[in-house]
């Protein structure tokens, strides 16, 4: 058992892959898009610094009000899964297959997530690192293919405005559900804060790079995927469809992590195993019906509220001795 524990991989790769899905699919920091590029980038940095501070407060604690915390976090995860599913589908229909059916798309995605639960954390964490490596490779490919089209003169050259910076930072205060999972799993291990810094830094770098890339090509706004569609490589006339599967792997990573977390919370709440099937059905139904219309504006607020409440409960939990 001791040896098995030694081989337990860190959840960092899966957590990071899941968070990057938010960057690519949901534009969780999308509200910041209304601000100029520099303010947006530094505003996001400030917001993530704030979350790093929150992780520092959560470090070494166990969640307080265990059952209530479990219920709140579970509800937040369910909402996050519904939103992720719907936003993933919208992204997919926009860029890959406009005739795709949400129910089929969702059923396939939840199948992959369920398979992740079957194999457990160890497999999911490792699968997360595969998705991350593939995404990194794809990033290099996109940069390489777009190098010829970037115009450095497209970058804005105005000084940073304090008001806009504060506004951008405020709008980027988006609570990623993965942060709580990360704190729950690793918060009592040594080196948690340093790893958290790397994790949030990577998110900042990835999101900033996408913003800069879009600006370098278009001067103004434009999705990163739109920019990537312009990439040309060798004999392929368009190869955006080639990296759609890699982005989808990030999306599945998020669903797998969500499903694993739900399974964990189910055990904590002492609910029967069949609850996971119900949660899957609820996610599919929720993404199809509750979120009809514009997904970003509906229950995102509810998800955020639940996550902040759960975080407050977590902060009220007992401080424990660090493991390791």
């Amino acid at each position: 058992m001791e040896k098995a524990a030694q081989n337990q991989p860190s959840p960092l790769a899966l957590v990071l892959a899941a968070s990057l899905a938010e960057v690519f699919f949901s534009w969780g920091y999308g509200a910041a898009s209304a601000y100029p590029l520099r303010e947006r980038i530094w505003g996001l940095g400030l917001a993530l610094l704030g979350f790093w501070g929150l992780l520092a407060l959560l470090s070494g604690r166990r969640p307080g009000g265990r059952r209530l915390y479990g219920a709140l976090a579970g509800a937040a995860v369910l909402l996050a899964l519904m939103r992720t599913l719907k936003e993933g589908w919208r992204f997919y229909t926009l860029y890959a297959d406009e005739d795709s059916d949400l129910l089929i798309f969702g059923a396939l995605a939840l199948l992959a997530a369920g398979w992740g639960v079957y194999w457990g954390e160890r497999a999911a964490y490792r699968a997360g690192s595969v998705a991350l490596w593939l995404a990194a490779g794809e990033g290099v490919l996109v940069l390489f293919s777009l190098a010829g089209q970037c115009r450095i003169t497209n970058l804005p050259d105005e000084p940073i405005e304090a008001g806009a910076l504060a506004g951008a930072a405020g709008s980027a205060l988006f609570f990623l559900p993965e942060l709580l999972y990360w704190a729950e799993k690793e918060g009592r291990r040594p080196g948690f804060l340093a790893q958290s810094g790397r994790y949030l830094g990577t998110i900042w770098a990835a999101q900033s790079l996408l913003w800069v890339l879009a600006a370098l090509i278009w001067q103004e706004e434009g999705g990163a995927f739109d920019a990537a569609r312009l990439g040309l490589l060798s004999v392929f006339r368009r190869f955006d469809i080639l990296y759609m599967p890699v982005l989808l792997l990030l999306f599945y990573s998020r669903l797998v992590l969500g499903a694993l977390w739900l399974a964990r919370l189910r055990r904590r709440l002492g609910l029967p195993g069949s609850c996971l099937w119900w949660a899957g059905g609820l996610t599919l139904a929720g993404s199809a019906f509750l979120y009809s219309g514009s997904p970003e504006n509906y229950l995102r607020g509810g998800e955020q509220a639940l996550l902040w409440l759960a975080a407050v409960l977590y902060l009220m939990g007992p401080k424990t001795k660090k493991a390791g």
Binding site: P9, A96, W115, R126, R237
Partner: protein, 480 residues
């Protein structure tokens, strides 16, 4: 049958004869040795009566005078003669039957409730030959044969440093098949050996005719596409794995040794890799990885690209593909599925038929499908090219044949029915399966996940021998 042997030789013979229903190959004879009534028995075909009588007559010619009792005779034969006797006497009927079915002759002496086991084996078996299913250009030509004892000898001959333990277990309630658990005490983690032994002891099999019967009992997960158990027909490969600290299982009647744990990367390694130049072996490794992904993904990606995103293809190729598809009556996916299944049927037919007819079937089918079907406009040339290329890629990795076949069809269906989302969902399922297979201590994806030095050194590539020898690898390294 745990009943103890009787002190009456005649009664023992009768009981044994009765337990095999008076079987025709059961040979028994009463005789007198140095004045003591005795009886011998054996199974004709696996033990030789001629050998037995030569042994006994030689002995009788040399000894003189009667013995006072059966016990005295037994002691004398067991300790003071040059007869080839087993170091353990048979004491129960089940023990006696075990020895008889292993090819021993039993000598019962009146007044003794134990039997002497004489080595009179004379089993006909397949000679040690070059393995048919594990081709190599260099290295040893020896392959395992069907008798476990011969196979144990082949291993022992290659590992003469003393670092090889072989334990015999009996499995299969009806067949009582011998299984040899082989490991190197110097390199194999104790916990691994204990775990394998425990799982074998807990395995409840009615019959055991091949080593593959054991694999479900040696892994934890029921729903697993990949297995953390490998096969080899080559003693030299088995020895190499033993030196890495792995456990090898030999099963009587099977020329396939089981190796465990077995990692994903090992499917891409072969004996030749270590005999060739490092740069060439590395090139072949990369080719094999490429072939693996091509063989599972190409038909699915082809169908997906043609149906959902033809724009990614170069224009000339896209025109050819679309033109070819319009000339056939089937939807693209149905066409690829048909050709894939047809190929599997041809392969299966060629495999099961006698070899000369098998070749003819393969040739005939290839001509029929490859030429006539295209000429008649039933199938298109691009589909045939894709399927044939996939099939050839698949043969590069015979040890992953089952997985590749199923994955190829699944990816094809996923890509055809659901497009990129189906392909990527299945890709995630595949990645999770690879990452989750194997034991917690010995993950199947090792050394790629968790990432270790060996991932490049002897995983993706193969470094030169001096570089590999700088720090030799064994399973104990995984525990550091």
């Amino acid at each position: 049958m745990e009943e103890k042997l009787s002190p009456h030789a005649g009664e023992n013979i009768s009981r044994l004869k009765e337990s095999v229903g008076g079987s025709a190959d059961f040979y028994s004879k009463k005789l007198e040795i140095q004045g003591v009534p005795c009886a011998v028995c054996l199974f004709d075909g696996i033990a030789s009566t001629e050998k037995l009588w030569v042994m006994l007559l030689e002995y009788l010619a040399e000894v003189e005078g009667p013995k006072p009792s059966g016990e005295a005779l037994l002691r004398y034969i067991f300790t003071r003669t040059d007869l080839p006797v087993e170091p353990q006497l048979a004491a129960t009927y089940s023990d006696a039957m075990n020895r008889l079915t292993a090819g021993f002759a039993l000598l019962f002496i009146e007044g003794c409730s134990r039997a002497i086991c004489l080595a009179a084996q004379s089993m006909t078996h397949r000679a040690v030959q070059e393995p048919s299913g594990e081709g190599n250009m260099r290295g040893s030509r020896e392959g395992f044969t069907d008798l476990v004892r011969v196979n144990m000898g082949l291993l022992r001959r290659l590992m003469r440093g003393g670092g090889l333990n072989m334990e015999i277990l009996q499995l299969g309630e009806r067949t009582k098949t011998e299984v040899a658990l082989c490991y190197s005490p110097l390199h194999a983690p104790r916990r691994l050996v204990d775990q394998v032994r425990r799982r074998l002891q807990n395995a409840r099999l009615p019959v055991l005719f091949d080593s593959s019967y054991l694999t479900p009992y040696l892994q934890k997960r029921r729903w697993s596409l990949f297995q953390g158990v490998g096969y080899t027909e080559r003693p030299v490969t088995a020895c190499a794995k033993l030196c890495e600290g792995k456990v090898v299982l030999l099963v009587n009647g099977s020329p396939f040794a089981l190796i465990l744990p077995y990692f994903f990367a090992e499917h891409f390694q072969s004996l030749d890799d270590y005999a060739q130049k490092a740069f060439f072996a590395s090139f072949l490794r990369l080719l094999k990885y490429g072939a693996f992904f091509l063989s599972i993904l190409l038909p699915g990606v082809y169908v997906c690209a043609a149906q959902y995103a033809p724009q990614i293809l170069p224009q000339a190729l896209m025109m050819k593909v679309l033109g070819a598809e319009q000339s056939t009556p089937w939807p693209l996916m149905v066409e690829v599925v048909l050709v894939t299944l047809m190929l599997e049927i041809i392969r299966e037919a060629g495999l099961r038929l006698p070899k000369p007819i098998g070749h003819t079937v393969g040739l005939f089918s290839a001509l029929l499908i490859g030429d006539s079907a295209v000429a008649a406009g039933i199938l298109s040339t691009p589909v045939l090219i894709v399927t044939a290329f996939t099939a050839i890629s698949m043969f590069v990795l015979p040890s992953l044949y089952e997985q590749i076949t199923i994955l190829r069809i699944l990816f094809l269906l996923a890509g055809g029915w659901f497009g990129p989302v189906g392909l990527s969902a299945l890709l995630m399922v595949l990645i999770l399966s690879v990452c989750g297979s194997g034991e917690a201590e010995y993950p199947f994806a090792y050394p790629f996940l968790p990432l270790r030095r060996g991932a490049v050194r002897d995983g993706l590539l193969r470094f030169s021998w001096p570089a590999l020898n700088e720090s030799s690898y064994d399973l104990k390294e995984m525990e550091k």
